[in-house]
């Protein structure tokens, strides 16, 4: 039976591409073909609506024009000017929400990373019951988001909540100053297992020989952590922190389920604020402008972060 290789000269003689070339082309095209559905869906689900949102931000889109977008009066950059006027109530409220979101992100990401890394490192070595503990740690992440946060909202109620019963206090946790910390606690509880999972996976890629060699050289646990674990985990941490940052800064579900559509002002994240501006007060142009600004902010932070980490990586090579 002739092989494909044997056929090659005959085909070439007819002027048609050689099978090897065809195969090569096919090989080159295959990944793109496989990616095509994902690209089309990405366009449909993210990019087109994103562009539509961008367009909406330049119009005065309210209930008067929602039925027919084309009838919305053009606003130019008025929506942007309005939300960036920090002397106005709208601008002031947006800025307040922005800073609350920054604080929320710092605390939530910080604690998630700290707890996730600590737990993963402590469980790096095999011990009895490690598998059970690992599974237990992942439970918050595996629980349905809504059910989990609704449960927290019950726990945090003043008169009937378990938290006050256990602490023997009568504090408010869902309104007032404490509401911010409630939000941070629920967010950390929900997301730290993700950090744990990622760091745990990263740790498994560190060769055991490095620790053995360090131990022979007399390095203690802390020294090994500083000299081996941390540097080896750096690429994992870079991605982990970026993902946690984006998730947390954009978090909508946690505050919405915990507090409802109107979160207390102390815990009014920018996501809830934008939702209110768009859906609740029916000012879609203004809400879109806020969303675009948020998108720009996140893009800048992500780009700067990726740039800095890449430069650091290149410098260390």
């Amino acid at each position: 039976m002739p092989t494909a290789l044997d056929d090659a000269p005959a085909v070439q003689a007819t002027g048609a591409p050689a099978p090897r070339t065809r195969r090569k082309r096919r090989r080159v095209a295959l990944p793109y073909l496989l990616l095509l559905p994902a690209i089309l869906l990405e366009l449909l689900v993210h990019l087109i609506p994103m562009l539509a949102g961008l367009a909406m931000s330049f119009f005065k889109l309210t209930q008067f024009s929602i039925r027919d977008f084309t009838s919305a009066p053009a606003a130019g950059i008025d929506n942007y000017k309005f939300v960036l006027d920090f002397d106005s109530a709208v601008g002031k409220a947006l800025l307040g929400s922005f800073w609350i979101s920054v604080l929320y992100t710092v605390f939530s990401v910080g604690f998630c990373w700290l707890f996730g890394t600590s737990a993963a490192v402590l469980m790096q070595k095999d011990f009895r019951g490690r598998g059970v503990l690992r599974t237990l740690f992942l439970v918050p992440y595996a629980l349905p988001m809504y059910a989990a946060v609704i449960t927290w909202s019950f726990l945090l109620q003043r008169d009937t909540g378990l938290v006050n019963s256990l602490l023997g206090t009568d504090s408010f946790w869902l309104i007032g100053d404490n509401s911010f910390w409630s939000l941070v606690i629920v967010s950390v509880w929900r997301n730290w297992p993700f950090a744990f999972l990622i760091v745990m996976a990263g740790l498994q890629n560190i060769p055991a020989e490095l620790y053995e060699a360090a131990a022979i050289d007399g390095a203690g646990w802390w020294r090994q952590f500083q000299a081996i674990t941390q540097p080896m985990l750096r690429p994992v941490n870079q991605v982990l922190l970026l993902v946690l940052f984006l998730w947390t800064f954009n978090d909508f579900n946690t505050p919405y389920v915990l507090f409802g559509a109107s979160a207390p002002k102390e815990a009014s994240l920018i996501s809830i604020h934008i939702y209110q501006s768009s859906f609740v007060t029916w000012n879609f142009g203004l809400g879109s402008a806020m969303s675009v600004l948020l998108l720009v902010f996140l893009l800048i932070v992500s780009t700067v972060y990726l740039g800095l980490t890449a430069r650091r990586r290149n410098a260390s090579v």
């Binding site: 609506p49 949102g53 039925r67 408010f172 409802g260 109107s262 007060t281 029916w282 000012n283």
Partner: protein, 437 residues
């Protein structure tokens, strides 16, 4: 949902909701007629609503040959779903709307105007109760829907607690309400004079409107622009917040109350002696309250009302029924509306839900001759005024209600709320509404 892309998500959500949830009725002229109906949640659960409505819809199908596909939409989703349908132009054929949204939804132009001809098709304008019909859109424009379920606010009170405190009758003035509330407040026993849904945005805004009217506030200028900040509206908000702050007849925990169930339960369990709410005898019965202990009276007015004050103890609450302009079966839709507002259906549905018929001829039913129902009927007829019928009404409700929720949270946390703070909040709300144009 991660909301970094909320603007695109908005577009997508609107489109997706419209695509998945709506679809309208049958468009083919040869196929049997079919309507899609979005009902609001009036019963104890969505399933309860389906159980109540399904037999009636079947009866309509049998009589008119028009099938009605029912979806009961929870209140938390209803406005968003309507907005999505409005945006896409693909919605249900017939739907329920909160009557306070009437002017806002009217402004979208997405609903069939009930002009005289359309009203005639559903039985004629004169059948409807005047106050309920007044809450169907901006004045001078054809209504955006017709009233389906009537509601009004009243003051529920626990007769047993009143008797224990030696109080023989419900308060006749606001001052008496406060005085009685103080007598009935015993924090060491976990008993409070009044229960409030202080964490509920809409409820707060309703009370701001009622007390605002009593103080002489107008929440919109004569040319229809919203105006929240004024001396009377500050006084009204202060009067309401003071129930917790100064009079201390409301449990500070009520600042967390975001649904009616807790307040109903407080009254039923003897943890609160009074509760201002819409007609809810059915709900009290469902949570097991001894109905012999339940009394209801109109919300009292101040003993000496301000000169500009109006005799208002409730706003005209209720649910309207609207027809989506995009319907392919307008005649069938109007037939269905006519069926739902017919006297037998009005009597049956309102009896079941504990609400009030919106047509005169349904009141002959014995169920609406009870003392409690007559209280609400009297309020609706004599001392209720519609919420401001301006396009920005829904923003008004949200903004003033949210501001009041925050004020109650401050009061609960021991932070004082004075006139300056209230005015500042109302000014901010005005600015936010103005941003919408």
């Amino acid at each position: 949902m991660r909301i970094g892309k909320i603007a695109p998500a908005l577009v997508l959500a609107l489109a997706a909701a419209a695509a998945t949830a709506c679809g309208g009725g049958d468009t083919s002229s040869s196929a049997p007629k079919e309507l899609v109906y979005w009902a609001s949640n009036q019963g104890t659960s969505l399933d309860n609503d389906k159980a109540v409505l399904r037999p009636e819809l079947d009866r309509f199908e049998k009589a008119a040959g028009i099938k009605v596909k029912l979806e009961v939409v929870p209140w938390t989703d209803l406005l968003n779903r309507i907005l999505a349908a409005t945006t896409s132009g693909k919605g249900p054929d017939v739907l329920n709307i909160g009557n306070t949204w009437s002017a806002s939804l009217q402004a979208t132009g997405a609903f069939l105007p009930f002009d005289d001809a359309a009203l005639e098709k559903v039985g004629g304008k004169s059948r409807f109760l005047g106050p309920s019909l007044a809450a169907t859109g901006a004045s001078g424009r054809p209504p955006v829907g017709v009233p389906l379920y009537g509601q009004a606010y009243g003051l529920y009170y626990n007769k047993k607690l009143f008797a224990e405190a030696g109080i023989t009758k419900p308060p006749a003035t606001w001052e008496e309400l406060v005085e009685d509330g103080k007598k009935l407040t015993k924090p060491d026993k976990g008993q409070w004079g009044l229960s409030l849904q202080a964490g509920q945005v809409t409820e707060n805004s309703h009370h701001a409107a009622i007390l605002g009217a009593q103080q002489g506030a107008r929440f919109s200028t004569p040319d229809g622009k919203p105006q929240l900040a004024s001396d009377p509206s500050v006084a009204a908000v202060r009067q309401f917040v003071d129930l917790m702050q100064k009079d201390k007849i409301v449990n500070p925990s009520n600042a967390e109350y975001a649904d009616t169930a807790k307040s109903l339960k407080d009254l039923s369990d003897g943890k609160a002696a009074m509760f201002m709410n819409q007609a809810s005898a059915g709900s009290f019965k469902n949570i097991g309250m001894d109905m012999a202990d339940l009394g209801v009276a109109p919300i009292p007015l101040p003993a000496t009302p301000p000169s500009a004050g109006r005799k208002v103890t409730s706003f005209v609450a209720g649910i309207n029924m609207a027809v989506f302009k995009g319907t392919k079966n307008p005649d069938a839709a109007l037939d269905f509306v006519k069926f739902m507002v017919s006297a037998p259906e009005q009597a049956l549905l309102n009896k079941t839900y504990g609400s009030l018929p919106t047509v005169q001829d349904a009141y002959s039913d014995a169920a609406f001759q009870t003392e409690d129902v007559k209280v609400f009927q009297g309020v609706l007829a004599n001392s209720a005024e519609p919420m401001p019928q301006v396009p920005q009404e829904s923003q008004f409700e949200t903004l003033i209600g949210t501001a009041m929720k925050a004020m109650f949270a401050d009061v609960a946390a021991g932070k004082p709320v004075d006139d300056g703070k209230i005015r500042d909040q109302l000014n901010q709300a005005d600015q936010q509404i103005a941003a919408g144009g």
